[in-house]
C-alpha cells in the first residue's frame, strides 16, 4: 500500500462524509486519482462499508447490548468457521470475534430489551449444533465505541483570539 492510499483510508476512517474533492485538496493530489483509488479499494472490499455511529439514547431509543462468550466444538477441515458462520449470519449479531483464552467466540448482540436478547441466546444461539456453552454479559454503559468517546465533554476552551 502506498502512502497516498494509506492517507485516503485514514481520512475516510476518521470521516466517511469527506468528499473526494475535499480529499484531493487536502492531500494535494489529482481528483481523478482520488476517485480511482477509492473505487479500487471499494472493488476489492478493502473499504467494506460507510457507517454512521449513532448514540440512540439521544433520540430516546432503548437499545440493549450484550457480550456472549460462546464455547464451540471445532469441526474437521473447517475448524471454527462453519459454526461461526451459522452464528454471525443472524442480524442480531453486531460483531463477532474468534478469541484466544477460555472461550472461543465473543459475540456482541444488540436488541431492544434484555428479554429479547435472552430469548435469542436461549432459542437460537445455544441450540446451534456445535455450541457447547454460552455465558451472557449485559452492557451497562458504553463509554467509547470505535475510537469515539460517547460523552466527550472536552470542548474547545481556548481564548477566542491569541497572538
Amino acid at each position: 500500500m502506498n502512502n497516498i492510499t494509506r492517507q485516503i483510508l485514514e481520512l475516510l476512517e476518521d470521516n466517511a462524509k469527506l468528499a473526494p474533492e475535499e480529499m484531493a485538496i487536502m492531500l494535494n493530489i489529482d481528483l481523478v486519482k482520488v476517485r480511482g483509488i477509492i473505487k479500487e479499494l471499494e472493488d476489492k472490499k478493502a473499504i467494506l462499508s460507510y457507517l454512521t455511529l449513532i448514540n440512540w439514547e439521544k433520540v430516546g431509543e432503548e437499545k440493549v447490548n450484550a457480550l456472549i462468550e460462546v464455547r464451540i466444538t471445532p469441526q474437521r477441515d473447517v475448524g471454527f468457521d462453519a459454526v461461526a458462520e451459522r452464528i454471525y449470519r443472524f442480524p442480531e449479531v453486531r460483531s463477532m470475534h474468534l478469541m484466544s483464552g477460555t472461550y472461543d467466540l465473543a459475540v456482541l448482540l444488540e436488541g431492544r430489551s434484555m428479554k429479547e436478547i435472552a430469548h435469542f441466546v436461549a432459542t437460537k444461539l445455544a441450540t446451534i449444533e456445535g455450541v457447547v456453552s454460552t455465558a451472557s454479559h449485559f452492557v451497562l454503559k458504553t463509554y467509547k465505541q470505535n475510537g469515539v468517546i460517547i460523552e466527550d465533554n472536552e470542548e474547545d476552551r481556548r481564548l477566542m483570539v491569541s497572538p
Binding site: 487536502m26 477566542m160 483570539v161 491569541s162 497572538p163
Partner: protein, 418 residues
C-alpha cells in the same frame, strides 16, 4: 485633597510600551455571538492523553517540589538527545540547556543577557508580538527588517547586512514564522550566518514551530558552521505537542550565555513548574507518534486553506510551516483592521489583523488553521461571501491586482533608479 496620578510613578519604559494590538480586537470578539475563530495562536488539539496521564501520575507520586534552577536533569538530558537526534547538534545538558517557562521567558532572558542600553536588535517583520517589547524592556532598540509577499516573507542576507549599524548586537530569527507561516531555506540561512559571523552578531533563534514544517526540512540555525556558540536556540513544547498552557520551553547555547540566563531565571522564576516539566519529559519520551499525527492534520488543512483563498481571489503565499496563512486583503478595498472588524460584524468570523504583527503586516490578515475541518469550511464559506460583497471576484480578478502591483513596484524601481 488632590488626586494622585499613579501613572506618573510607573517606569516610563513600561508606561510607554504600547499594549498588544490584539487586545482591542480580542474585546470586540468576546462581545460578538456565534463567532468562529480563526484567530487563535495555539493548537486546537488538547495535549495528548499519555502526557496528561503522566502528569497526573507525577502528582500522585508527590512530585510537587522545586527542581534545580536549570530544570530537571532528566528533562535536560532528554532535550539534549532530542536536539542531537533531530539536528545533530550536541549540547551538554549540565550547563548548556535551561528549562524555562515557555519560549516567552527564554526570549526575555536572552535579550536581558545579550543587551546593554542602546544595543540594536534586528527583527524580521511581520513577526510575533513580544520581540520588540522584550528588546525595549532589556534596554535595547528594535530595528525591523520588513518582509512581504514578493519575497515570501523571508529576510535575506543582504537585508541583514544593510540593517547593521555599529550598535547592532543581536539578530533575531523566528522561522517557521508566526504570523506568515514563512520558512527559511538552508542556503539563505548559510549566507545570513556568514553575515552574523563577519559582524560578530549574536543570534537569538525562536524555533518553536520547527516541527510544524511542511515544505522541505527545517534548518536549525545553531546547526550551521560557526553558529552553535553564537546562537541562543529557543524552543519548547507548546506547538509540537499541543502544550501551550503548560508553559514549558528551553534555551540552549554556549555555557556562558545559558549560565547568565540561569542567573536571572533563578532569582525571578526559581524554576519551571515541576508538573509541567514531568509532562514535557513524557512528551519527549513517547510523544512522537501523536506529534506526527497532528502535523499531518495541519498539513491537510493547510492545503484546504490555500485552495479556499485561491477560490476567493485573495492573493496568499504558500505557508511552509506553523499553522497560519497570511492572505492579502487589500483587493477588498479595506485595510486589515477594517477587514477584520467588518468580517467579524457581518459574518462572525474572527481573525487577526496583520498590522498587530508590525507595520509590514498592513494589508494582510492572519488566519489560523488550528481549527476543526467543520469550522474551517464554514468560516471560509462566510469569508467568501464577505469578500464577494466587497467586490472581489475569483482568481480572474485577483490576477490583475497582482499584475498591477508588480507594475507599480517596477515603476517605483525605475523611478528610484532615475
Amino acid at each position: 485633597m488632590t488626586q494622585k496620578n499613579w501613572s506618573e510613578r510607573i517606569n516610563p519604559v513600561v508606561r510607554n510600551l504600547p499594549p498588544s494590538g490584539i487586545r482591542k480586537f480580542f474585546d470586540l470578539v468576546s462581545e460578538t455571538k456565534g463567532v468562529i475563530s480563526l484567530g487563535v495562536g495555539e493548537p486546537d488539539f488538547v495535549t495528548p492523553w499519555h502526557i496528561r496521564e503522566a502528569c497526573i501520575y507525577s502528582l500522585e507520586k508527590g512530585y510537587t517540589m522545586y527542581t534545580s534552577n536549570w530544570g530537571l536533569l532528566e528533562l535536560r538530558e532528554a532535550v539534549a538527545a532530542d536536539v542531537e537526534g533531530t539536528y545533530d547538534i550536541k549540547y551538554n545538558p549540565r550547563d548548556e540547556i535551561l528549562i524555562t517557562v515557555g519560549v516567552s521567558e527564554a526570549m526575555d532572558l536572552a535579550m536581558r543577557v545579550c543587551l546593554t542600553p542602546g544595543d540594536e536588535v534586528l527583527i524580521p517583520e511581520p513577526s510575533y508580538v513580544s520581540y520588540a517589547p522584550c528588546t525595549i524592556l532589556a534596554g535595547g532598540v528594535p530595528v525591523f527588517m520588513p518582509t512581504g509577499l514578493e519575497n515570501g516573507f523571508r529576510i535575506s542576507a543582504e537585508q541583514v547586512q544593510a540593517s547593521i549599524t555599529p550598535r547592532t548586537k543581536v539578530l533575531l530569527l523566528c522561522y517557521p514564522n508566526n504570523p506568515t507561516g514563512a520558512v527559511m531555506d538552508r542556503e539563505e540561512l548559510l549566507k545570513i550566518a556568514e553575515v552574523a559571523v563577519q559582524n560578530d552578531l549574536m543570534v537569538i533563534s525562536d524555533e518553536i514551530y520547527d516541527r510544524l514544517t511542511y515544505v522541505g526540512q527545517h534548518t536549525c540555525m545553531a546547526s550551521l558552521p560557526a553558529m552553535r556558540d553564537r546562537t541562543v536556540l529557543l524552543n519548547g513544547f507548546s506547538k509540537a505537542y499541543a502544550m501551550t498552557g503548560w508553559r514549558v520551553g528551553y534555551a540552549a547555547g554556549h555555557p556562558d550565555i545559558i549560565g547568565a540566563m540561569t542567573k536571572i531565571h533563578q532569582y525571578t522564576m526559581l524554576c519551571t513548574s515541576i508538573t509541567a516539566q514531568m509532562a514535557a519529559l513524557e512528551a519527549l519520551k513517547n510523544g512522537r507518534p501523536a506529534m506526527r499525527h497532528m502535523v499531518e492534520h495541519y498539513n491537510r488543512r493547510r492545503h484546504l486553506v490555500m485552495q479556499a483563498f485561491r477560490d476567493m481571489g485573495l492573493p496568499c503565499f504558500e505557508p511552509g510551516g506553523a499553522f497560519y496563512a497570511f492572505p492579502e486583503v487589500s483587493a477588498t478595498g479595506l485595510n486589515c483592521e477594517e477587514f477584520a472588524e467588518e468580517l467579524l460584524k457581518q459574518e462572525q468570523v474572527a481573525l487577526v489583523p496583520g498590522n498587530a504583527f508590525g507595520q509590514s503586516g498592513e494589508g494582510f490578515v492572519r488566519v489560523s488553521y488550528a481549527a476543526s475541518l467543520d469550522d474551517l469550511s464554514e468560516a471560509f464559506r462566510r469569508m467568501a461571501r464577505f469578500v464577494r460583497r466587497c467586490g472581489v471576484r475569483t482568481k480572474v480578478i485577483s490576477a490583475p491586482v497582482k499584475i498591477a502591483k508588480a507594475q507599480s513596484a517596477l515603476k517605483e524601481g525605475i523611478l528610484s533608479n532615475l
